[in-house]
Symmetry: none
Subunit: 270 residues, 2 copies
DNA sequence: TTATAAATAGAATAAATATTCCGTTATCGG
DNA sequence: CCGATAACGGAATATTTATTCTATTTATAA
């Protein structure tokens, strides 16, 4: 057995290549199978994998050890961890940094950069081309687009309004400045573009409800399928951002919002 | 228990919505957690999931049955079976998004996601720990922080103001609502935090100039060393974002801004 | 308030899964 | 071809993980 187990997919593949030549028959079968089906390791049992590879479970175990793991479980853990980028540790990691005294500004920056990167990667998972096109179609057909997003997502709403303005698309930002209501500006044929994450801001949910009562279509940027906006029948795009401590990096939300805005602009011109 | 178990992710989500209202406390926690972390179900044990959701394993079991499954194992099997379709790694998914023509909505999204990722990676190169700490120190010593950022970077300014407010740090957003000037609120001992990218907005540059004339320190988030803000003697942090067409993804700027804000909050407390 | 039902936590049990062990079979150098 | 060594298969065992059960708590309606 080897001292060091691969800690990432890259390390794993390097080691796999290293080892793959001159392998006895059954171990070679394991190597080939794993190389061809890396996606199944995280979600299968040794019994299933070994059967699929055409070997005995014990042979598969020997392969795991050959790769530097203590056994199948350790190897599987590596695949599971890298698959579902473990964000529960995220909130606590900041705590740990703080506790450990490594709480420098640059460490914080690294956290936020990392959170942003992970969120961006997740985005490609949670938004399908079909959903995106659906949302674009609805928005492109609007007489006017009403944008609402308060508190922590207000910046997103503000940038959407800016982008629409730049492209000469009629849009109104419901910014609640001076506590003036703007809801009566929502007329038939308009569309409401609402952004809210848990805990869902009451004003936003209210406005969506108001719009639905008047048969105004709603496109929602939100964080989960059980968001109240989705339950109200909005065309929903899911974007899950990571929190770092009490704050949320909005990288993915911004990318999605901009893509949406530009796509709407393009479609209206064409 | 129910006769029919969901056979696909869509069916699952429909049933989740059906069921989600009026749920007792622990079951609601399960529903929320699952809605927010569907990707973890295939690769975790009941113990892990229930712990992460903050409930007992037995509560999680009740939730599975409520969803129409015979138990956790059957539910997990559904997730594992549909898992394979979503496996392809980040690069591949991005390719898929891109595919289908240059100006489909998903191709645009891929562009923005990629731009965001690149900007985030660059950020660690253009901002040194020393610069960051310098900026934090200046801001942490401020009596009050004035934030300005207009047009395309207004969202960043807005979020900074939000973050400072959350942390009980005296801050004022110069938002120019109603064209009211707010410059006379800038007093000795305050610090101005200015954000502007080329082409530098005149109002922002003016305000920085005003502040410098009164010996008020300025921290600048800008895009190059030859920015007018840097030339005026501001403590400068450089962040270069990529443009996609006429629009700029703000991923890196946001990450930097948040790190800055949280670091200031931490330093003031300590 | 009290009676009744529903929901919950935690421990006990059942099921599944990984891992080891060892007798047998194949491989390779001489 | 023979002896030594490595690889293998399959059953036995240890461990992990799901599931059920029951005493308590919490909510609900009379």
């Amino acid at each position: 057995m080897r001292a060091s187990a691969p800690l990432s997919l890259d390390e794993f593949q390097t080691r796999l290549l290293d080892v793959s030549q001159n392998l006895p028959r059954r171990l070679k079968q394991c190597a080939d199978f794993v190389a061809r089906n890396p996606d199944r390791i995280a979600v299968s049992t040794v019994a299933e994998l070994s059967a699929a590879a055409g070997v005995q479970p014990s042979a598969f175990m020997r392969f795991c050890k050959l790769m530097g793991f203590s056994g199948f479980s350790q190897m599987q853990r590596m695949f599971r961890d890298t698959h579902a980028q473990r964000w529960p540790d995220y909130g606590t990691r900041l705590e740990n940094l703080r506790a450990g005294g490594a709480d420098t500004p640059s460490a914080l920056l690294a956290e936020f950069v990392d959170a942003g990167r992970v969120s961006l990667e997740k985005l490609t998972n949670t938004v399908t081309p079909a959903q995106l096109e659906g949302a674009v179609t609805v928005l492109a057909g609007a007489r006017m687009i009403h944008v609402i997003g308060l508190r922590r997502v207000f910046p997103v709403a503000a940038y959407l309004a800016y982008a629409f303005e730049k492209m000469n698309i009629p849009a109104l930002l419901h910014d609640h400045v001076g506590n003036l209501g703007q809801r009566h500006a929502i007329l038939e044929g308009d569309v409401l573009l609402a952004i809210t994450f848990a805990p869902y801001s009451e004003e936003t949910v209210d406005l969506v409800s108001y719009a639905r009562d008047r048969n105004v279509e709603v496109v929602a940027l939100t964080d989960a399928m059980n968001s109240p906006l989705h339950q109200m029948g909005a065309t929903t795009l899911i974007v899950s951002e990571l929190d770092v401590g009490a704050f949320r990096a909005l990288s993915a939300t911004f990318s999605l919002a901009l893509a949406l805005a530009v796509a709407v602009g393009t479609q209206r011109e064409g």
